[in-house]
Amino acid sequence: MMLEQTTITAWRATAMSRSTAKTGRTKATRIARFAPWVLGVVVLAGSGIAVGQSSYAAFSSTTDNPGSNWKAGAVTLTDDDANAAAFSATSLKPGDTGSKCIKVTSTGDISGQVKMYSTGHATTKALSDNIDITVALGNGGGFASCDGFVKTSDLYSGTLANYAATKTNYATGTTDWVSNKNDSRTYQITYKIKDTAPNTVQGGTSGINFVWELQSGTSGV
């Protein structure tokens, strides 16, 4: 008897709630059933289209300047020679020597390795073979005067000809210092005409460009 009553009441209760959620299913539960799959497919397809778009935009562009919101170079390396030459000496005789300091500064928000090398070397009468140069790295002093220059390391010692032949680009340059955004160092370059320079060198010339370059992402990270 009890059981029958219970069964009927249960059935009645279910029947009465038929209009709202007779079985416990609602719109939300129905959606919940297939939502994950639909969402996954839509996102996969949508992102695929987005990747296609981004690839096209990145690699089919024919100009390197996409517009006015282009950020200009983020690191700049300068030296303090005010476009004057590091050395400009004539009538040099064996034993003659000269020295110049140049301060190289990095400005911007990129850190990187600074290296020194040379370009544009030309010599007559083998003068470059008869010039010994030393390059030192340190702090203090500058193009106007080497006063206050304190050396921290020796970068090169040898003939100018050997420097020009071996330090020709960033890859082969001397590994100098790592700039940590906005800092500077001073280089001291010293030359000396060899005492043993033969008379065949008389009237010879040497020309060279010393180059300092910073590249990012090479500081060991």
Binding site: A10, A21, T23, A28, D64, A85, V104, L127, E213, V221
Partner: protein, 506 residues
């Protein structure tokens, strides 16, 4: 008596729908994040499956088109089809072992010139076509940002990212209940459909014709069993969350492993330069420019040659016996042991010079004297015919002598065996006579000493030769001491020239 079984229908009484919708929306947001990240990872992996080199961009010199954290795949192409403006992935010539992603600026025989869009100037080194890995083909934005974090050691950011993924996994599980209820509801509906056709209800309260009463029992028991199941649902919920988290981490880890090894640099760069120009003097004004021979002794050991660096006719000397090389302040010279050391020239064809000057720097403390330099008829031994020589006496005085029917000599008043370097010059002019200079200053002269012995085909001897019979001849024919810049001039030198020679230094 109405026994109302308290059946807790699986519904909340107030605002059940709003709660459901909230759960659904929140879970969908979690799923959205997870599926977005998973999709980008999948798209980043597809090129890898096809064997395309895929790298994570590590720096920003190609912004704004290619950003740090983008995952870029390159398609290998024939070098002949490379064109300007293409973005290429290549082995960085400036930093061996690294890959660079920059745009081609120009192509020439010398190589490919590249430039980062965001760099003010082109890359300083040209790229060889062999170094090109491929042309940029696929770009999946930003999915490599966590890889860069890992590479840069940014543990905090990486941990936050992984925590976000785990959170999203948890959140996307919140609507699990909804799905379960939907499942149960579907089961109930199926059962009801069966029951309805079997029974006619009697709303008066009379017992319905229980044609299939067991069906209701069954549905009730099913309700009961599902309630029992809900007690276990917490455990299975945790299980499913755990499964999602595990799968997420495995996928992330695999992707990071495959992509995490390869980076490409869009390297920023900047450079500055300073020029240098040096010119040698037209004439070095060396004292020995006009010399017949000049020996500077600047060769390195164990050379036994004294190179003549003056004039066009080379008259080199040969070192023999106890002669050693030395250097003081970077200035090389030679030292004789006083018992066997000597330097000699090759045979000089023709007549010995009638006008000439002998010059050499010397430093000694000997008290036995010796020959510094002179002309003789023996190349290595003790000459039987010799003159035009400078020798030092036992007391350290210097003598210049020529043989003209008899011995003609000039002797320095002072001694110079003080261990310091001095310069001695002896000149003979057939018109003006002879002068002996020490350190650029005349110390003895004779206007009648104008002629030396007429001999030929002899040798120039340095450090040792016969002196016997000559005025104040020293105990030793071998000179014990040092010499430097030994020269022979083809004419007599003037006093000014000698002074200049001394001023020039050793």
């Amino acid at each position: 008596m109405s026994a109302t079984a308290s059946i807790r229908l699986p519904l909340k009484a107030e605002n059940p729908d709003l709660r459901d919708w909230l759960l659904l929306v929140v879970a969908s947001l979690g799923r959205l994040l997870l599926s977005l990240i998973a999709s980008l990872v999948i798209w980043a992996m597809v090129p890898v499956l096809f064997g395309l080199t895929t790298t994570t961009v590590a720096s920003g010199s190609m912004e704004p088109r290619i950003n740090i954290g983008d995952v870029v795949s390159a398609m290998p192409v024939d070098s002949s089809s490379l064109r300007e403006k293409q973005v290429i992935l290549f082995e960085d010539p400036a930093v061996p072992g690294r890959l660079r992603l920059h745009r081609i600026l120009s192509i020439s025989d010398k190589g490919i010139q590249t430039k980062g869009d965001n760099n003010p100037s082109p890359d300083s080194m040209l790229v060889s076509p062999d170094a090109v890995v491929g042309v940029g083909f696929i770009r999946v934005p930003s999915i490599g940002v966590p890889i860069n974090w890992g590479h840069e050691g940014k543990i905090l950011e990486l941990a936050l990212f992984l925590a976000t993924l785990v959170l999203a996994a948890v959140v996307s599980n919140l609507d699990r209940d909804l799905r379960r209820r939907d499942r149960e509801g579907r089961r109930l509906e199926a059962l009801e459909l069966e029951a309805e056709t079997e029974l006619v209800p009697d709303l008066n309260g009379d017992a319905p014709r229980a044609a299939q009463p067991n069906l209701f029992k069954r549905s009730l028991s099913q309700l009961a069993s599902s309630r029992a199941l809900s007690r276990f649902s917490r455990r299975s919920r945790l299980r499913s969350i755990g499964l999602i988290v595990l799968v997420t981490l495995i996928l992330t880890g695999t992707a990071a492993y495959i992509l995490g090894g390869a980076f490409s640099n869009a390297a920023f760069s900047s450079s500055t330069a300073s020029a240098a120009s040096l010119q040698a003097a037209a004439s070095f004004g060396r004292p020995w420019d006009q010399a017949t021979f000049h020996w500077a002794y600047s060769e390195s050991s164990p050379s036994t040659t004294a190179t003549d660096d003056a004039g066009s006719t080379l008259e080199n000397g040969t070192l023999a016996g106890g002669v050693t090389r030395a250097t003081a302040d970077g200035n090389p010279y030679v030292t004789f042991d006083g018992t066997s050391g000597k330097i000699y020239s090759a045979q000089i064809p023709g007549a010995a010079p009638t006008n000439f000057a002998l010059e050499t720097w010397f430093s000694t403390t000997t008290t036995r004297g010796g020959k510094l330099m002179g002309y003789g008829n023996s190349q290595t031994g003790s000459s039987s015919s010799y003159d035009r020589h400078i020798y030092m006496t036992n007391s350290g005085q210097l003598v210049f002598g020529v043989y003209n029917g008899g011995y003609q000599t000039l002797i320095s008043p002072k001694s110079y065996n003080d261990g310091k370097f001095h310069m001695v010059t002896a000149t003979l002019s057939s018109t003006a006579g002879s002068v002996l200079y020490v350190d650029g200053v005349a110390v003895a002269s004779s206007t009648t000493m104008t002629k030396a012995e007429a001999v030929s085909n002899g040798y120039w001897r340095v450090g040792y030769d016969n002196i016997s019979g000559w005025p104040s001849a020293p105990t030793s024919n071998y000179y014990a001491g040092s010499l430097d810049d030994t020269s022979l001039y083809p004419t007599g030198l003037t006093a000014t020239q000698v002074a200049d020679h001394f001023a020039y230094g050793r």
